[in-house]
Amino acid sequence: MSFRQIAAATAVAATFGFAASPALAVTEIQWWHAMTGGNNDIVNKLAEEFNASQSDYKVVPTFKGAYPDTMNAGIAAFRAGNAPHIMQVFEVGTATMMSAKGAIKPVYELMKEAGEPFDPKAYLPAITGYYSTSKGDMLSFPFNSSSMVMWINKDELKKAGVAEIPKTWPEVFDAAKKLKAAGHETCGFSNAWASWAHIEQFSAWHNVPIGTKANGLDGFDTVLEFNSPLHVKHLQNLVELQKDKTYDYSGRGSASESRFGSGECAIFMTSSGYYATAKSTAKFDFTSAPMPYYPDVQGAPQNSIIGGASLWVMGGKTANEYKGVAKFFTFLSDTNRQAKLHQESGYLPITTAAYEKTKADGFYDKNPVPQTPLKELTNKPPTENSRGLRFGNMVQMRDVWAEEIEAALAGKKTAKEALDSAVARGNAMLRTFEKTAK
């Protein structure tokens, strides 16, 4: 062996030796998420705390854009063979992820294989039901669960002479008219997430179906039916109020939530997860209230359904990496940590113990805001119409529904035409999905 060969061999050995040793010591867990604002800080802090708590695994959170962007980035990465370990997927992506057997690692399997203590009964059933199979096997790990609430700017309501926080839709319309008269000319009331508010939550809250087969939970051969007279009446009311901006449309996503924080809209429906951002931006006295309902609908209000996102574990990783993911989930389920997360972010506690602890600590007496979504979710035992929903292609379908709502609000279609068209287009998409999901 010549001197040059020996030198080369030494160099190669050295390179591999040095490169391999840190990789052996710490296993990186990639976590792709979609959290912005105050909640982004919470995600980073969670990862930091977990990394400091042990030395075998390192969770690396990466912000991948809004919910649909994160999901698409994950799917594209999976196709390219480099999916992250953990991917945060919003609730409407559930059907798509569930049907992708082989691309995902079900959470109940992961926990069992990693030998981590895991009792599915410890989690709140209103939440885990959404992310479990009909047999009750948990497929994804609930992370940030929320529901839709009505955010109230108490200072402005007082100024406009609205004595009580409105409970029903007619009361909201009245309050909005008073607010408009008191100077809120561009916005009496509004909401983020158009389809989530006026179709999904609206249906559950009034105990009317969005689609057959328990809103798709009992099978992919579900058919949409949210063009009922009640849905039409509600959209018609919004169309009338949009004309003079007593109601003012705020788009399909959460981008316009700042209309509440800036004081422009004094009544604004959006996710309960808006709490962290509201605390840091709103310079007025605010609170959250349950969503309004029509008092002439029998049995309303029923119960709301959850929104937010869960963590999906992607397939094709090593056993050691899965062990790290499982440890991270155990870390997240810790009662104190869950209680603290809930109290800071406004997202729901995922374990019963964390909810009980927060109650026992007397937290809600001083801070009623984070309890509003819990009260909504547990208002009545869920029915076929309010257990949740599971529609394939739901990410794009929500946009299609919003398109039709927009057409009605812009006066291009009547409320009835718009909802009929939303149902017809949605059904076509469901049939396409049914063919691919086998």
Partner: protein, 293 residues
């Protein structure tokens, strides 16, 4: 007898062409053939199972009324963007070609928008004209103009057209300016001596001599507006409100990425490819005849 140089080698010309051919094969023919193949498949978003379905994706596509709406929107959007971005760029280029103080500074500034990524350009315009947050939307509303691109389809269209034009003007400006500077001054001066005014000099001398540049830009701009504008549309309006800014290329993006319907999306991109190839062929066949090289 005349002496001419003849290269006998067969290999050298092919070698010299090879890099360009390789790029065309890898970046055009290969993806295009993939798109055509995929348009005959039905596949789930993750690519876990796929099935050959023949022309089913195309049948489903042409049965959608929204697709015809998108074709109409595309015609409006592409004509507006092409005409405006060429027109505005030509106007700016003729002005910048004059002897001005600090002309090179203007010229540099004019080129900047081209370096901005489409999505970022979209976000900028989204915020400037956002009905409640926008710095320019507020004065519009104060003046009593009910500016609302979130619900008014025409307003939304104006907004995406402005954003798309703004980005493309820089590119067109650069080529027009180079074209103008290549026109011999003597020809223009001769026209002036013969008594032609500035407008007449422009239409009878400059514009015809500029026609190779204009033709090139027309082809490039049509390709731009058909294929590259979905980033801007996504950031500004996401195809809304009520589909009034959903162009064909945006629909390809929305159905493929958001809907996970890759077969249907591929079928749309094949249709789009056929249209653009046809348009380009027509331009070379008919418009190029009027070009004076």
């Amino acid at each position: 007898m005349e002496k001419s140089v003849v290269f006998n080698g067969k290999l050298l010309p092919y070698l010299l062409l090879a890099p360009q051919l390789a790029i065309t094969l890898i970046f055009f023919y290969w993806p295009a053939s993939q798109a055509i193949w995929q348009s005959f498949l039905r596949e789930d978003a993750f690519g876990l199972n796929s099935e050959f379905v023949g022309l089913e994706n195309y049948q489903a596509l042409f049965a959608q009324p929204e697709y015809y709406t998108a074709i109409g929107t595309t015609v409006v959007f592409s004509s507006l963007v092409t005409v405006l971005s060429l027109g505005v760029a030509l106007l700016f280029a003729t002005q910048a070609d004059k002897n001005l103080k600090g002309a090179s500074a203007y010229k540099t500034l004019m080129i900047w928008p081209y370096a901005v990524a489409p999505a970022i350009a979209g976000v900028l315009w989204f915020f400037i004209f956002h009905p409640t947050l926008g710095t320019l939307a507020r004065p519009l509303r104060v003046m009593g103009f009910n500016w609302n691109p979130m619900l008014d389809g025409t307003h939304a269209m104006i907004l995406v057209v402005m954003a798309a034009v703004w980005k493309q003007v820089a590119y067109n400006f650069l080529f027009f300016l180079a074209g103008l500077q290549a026109i011999p001054k003597s020809v223009i001066e001769a026209g002036a001596i013969d008594g032609a005014g500035p407008l007449r000099r422009f239409w009878t001398i400059i514009f015809p001599l500029l026609s190779p540049t204009t033709f090139f830009l027309l082809v490039v701009n049509i390709v731009y507006v058909f294929f590259e504008t979905f980033g801007i549309i996504d950031a500004v309006t996401a195809g809304g409100p009520a589909g009034s800014t959903t162009t064909m290329v945006y629909k390809v993006f929305a159905d493929g990425r958001l809907g996970g319907d890759l077969g249907g999306s591929a079928a749309q991109s094949v249709v789009l490819m056929v249209i653009v190839i046809a348009l380009t062929a027509i331009q070379f066949r008919y418009v190029e005849r009027k070009v004076q090289y």
